[in-house]
């Protein structure tokens, strides 16, 4: 590890990108730092000359988005070791899902990633629909797309707001993001009855239909969203302080990202074009024209920009979906909710949640509850490369990098 170069000082030639300070952190790391399986021995010997300062950041640290701890070893200001510690919010989600009916698990999925409950609903409903071989009515598919994209929009807006807040701009961008999120949550409340714990989707459709008045209101709100993205971009995108803090910090190499199973905006910021909406075409996403924004450098700034651009693409999808939404039922009235027993088998339903690939894996033995219920949480898997991104940076950058991962601890710990 090149200790003489901090990220801001390394202004030399960089073959990889335009920005000064990008370090190839992964290849510079000594062999001894590589993961050796699950039970990697604790590295106690100091790797730097001076004394190590061990800091336990969290679990009650405002920058960690919840109860998450980072055991950081510091040489001066530089991070030379970082160990993410999670499990403080473990709620036994998967075992609970195995002990109760398929329907009863639906409200619990709201509580995984509590910022995007509708995406979680969709992923779970998709898995059960695959398991039971159910068809979803056209209108329900459109409603799902509309709600999922609204969710993505508000998640990215507030995630950028949190990121900027962790940079020290306490308030303004986050409040602007929350102002917009509030309008979207009002739409959710009017349709589903709850602002965050929506519990809206059902196997084979949606719980209630959207009224024409709701759709009109949604159209009006969506028409105002591009203005907000423009405002956000003017406010932040070219801000010199933000660029100095974000560019070249927390670089994630595409090879490492792919090998670690990182998905979502994190992966796309590293330049890998992998979006399950395009790859899998679940639901009716293949009917909409939208682009998948990609980053070039894989640093914090690219993640920020990818999220900003994805918000624009979400608005595009929303406009198309709200224009094309057909009339019809949202659920087959003959489908029963109680005593739902899919035939024995297994299914994996995955969607592009705002944070990455969210998957539900279910095994049915023909009984009223799943034999195995497993969640593939994007937040947890995106967190696994936190150390690789943070090594060599200062503590203040660690806060920034963990903010750019966009985690929600309800999903990390389950």
């Amino acid at each position: 590890m090149s200790e003489s170069q901090s990220h801001s000082a390394a202004a030399g030639e960089n073959p990889e990108g335009r920005k000064p300070g990008s370090q190839n952190l992964v290849s510079q790391r000594p062999e001894s730092q590589k993961l050796e399986g699950w039970n990697r021995p604790a590295r106690t010997e100091p790797e730097a000359d001076g004394q190590l300062l061990e800091v336990s950041m969290g679990p009650h640290h405002p920058s960690t988005h919840g109860v998450f701890r980072m055991d950081v070893a510091l040489d001066g200001e530089r991070v030379i070791r970082l160990r993410p510690v999670f499990g403080y919010l473990h709620r036994n989600h998967e075992k609970l899902g195995e002990g109760q009916s398929y329907l009863s698990s639906m409200p619990y999925t709201d509580r995984l990633d509590y910022f995007c409950s509708l995406s979680n609903n969709w992923a779970y409903a998709l898995a059960v629909e695959k398991l039971a071989g159910q068809q979803v009515p056209e209108r329900a598919e459109y409603l799902r797309v509309i709600l999922a994209e609204l969710t993505r929009f508000q998640n990215h807006a507030s995630s950028i707001g949190f990121l900027i807040q962790e940079m020290g701009a306490s308030g303004t961008p986050l409040m602007y993001a929350f102002r917009e999120r509030e309008k979207i949550l009002d739409l959710f409340e009017e349709l589903t009855g709850a602002r965050m714990m929506c519990n809206y989707m059902r196997f084979g459709g949606c719980r209630v239909d959207a009224s024409p008045a709701w759709l009109e209101k949604a159209r009006a709100r969506v028409a105002a969203l591009p203005g907000f993205v423009d405002e956000f971009e003017r406010l932040l995108a070219t801000n010199e302080i933000l660029m100095a803090r974000c560019q070249g910090v927390g670089i994630l190499r595409p090879e490492l990202a792919v090998n670690a199973g990182v998905t979502g905006p994190m992966l796309r910021a590293s330049g890998v074009g992998y979006d399950i909406r395009k790859v899998d075409g679940y639901g009716i996403y293949n009917r909409f024209s939208f682009r998948v924004p990609l980053g070039e450098h894989g640093d914090v700034y690219d993640r920020f920009m990818v999220r900003l651009l994805e918000m624009r693409e979400s608005v595009k999808i929303l406009e198309q979906a709200l224009k094309e939404i057909p009339a019809g039922p949202v659920m087959d009235p003959r489908l029963k909710l109680r005593n739902f027993r899919p035939k024995p088998g297994e299914a994996y339903g995955r969607i592009e949640a705002p944070k990455g690939e969210l998957g539900f894996y279910l095994i049915s033995d023909g009984g009223p509850n799943p034999y195995r219920y497993r969640v593939r949480p994007p937040s947890l898997i995106n967190l696994t490369i936190l150390e690789d991104m943070c090594l060599g940076h200062s503590v203040a950058d660690v806060v920034l990098i963990s903010g750019s991962v966009d985690i929600v601890l309800g999903e990390v710990d389950r």
């Binding site: 109760q100 009916s101 329907l103 009863s104 698990s105 639906m106 409200p107 619990y108 709201d110 303004t172 602007y176 102002r179 509030e182 409340e189 009017e190 349709l191 589903t192 009855g193 709850a194 714990m197 519990n199 719980r207 209630v208 405002e231 003017r234 406010l235 932040l236 995108a237 070219t238 801000n239 010199e240 302080i241 933000l242 660029m243 909710l337 109680r338």
Partner: protein
Amino acid sequence: MFGEGILKGLAETARNFFGSFVSAERLTTVEYPEQRIAPFEAARVFPFLVYDGEDWLAGLRCVACQICEKECPPQCIFIEKSKDKKPDFVGKPQSYPMRFEIDISVCMSCQICVEVCPFEAIKMDTAFELSTGDRFGGLLLNLTQLAKPNAYYRQIHPTGAAEVDARMAEEMAKAEAKAKTATDAAAKAAADAAATKAADATPAAGDASQSRPDEESRR
């Protein structure tokens, strides 16, 4: 120019700041205890039990079938079924809950109980100012606290209540029609029997075919 981005951002902030003086759209908050936003019709907080008529015990729609108790994801409902039966709104004898308790400190407002209830007996309330100093007894609602009149349900969820009322009126009309045919048939049978007694014939087959669908219509 260095600093251009910052100036651009500050202009945006200034626009928002001064915009809040001229545009009501930019004022996004309300002063809560003094100003209130009416909850949406679909809003849901905690469940309550609906009763028809004046007497809550007699008019309670719940028949203690315990489906909601079984389906409740956090298992916050406790029901004790009665030994005896009372007539429901169509006049059919049904059980009723001796005890019906909901621990709203456990309830997660998911509305699953409302969806699975076949009798339209449990609905979601929209009252949210429920803080109490007694965190054990105060949050365990019993039958008297949970029972609320249908008029209240109509007030908080007008659309849903209208649908439910229409469905129940239809069911009641059907039951009444069935009862009327049954009594008519019985009267006719009696008259026929009297007639046959006189004329020495057998009309029993028609009587039986009248009464069977009536029994089926009562769940």
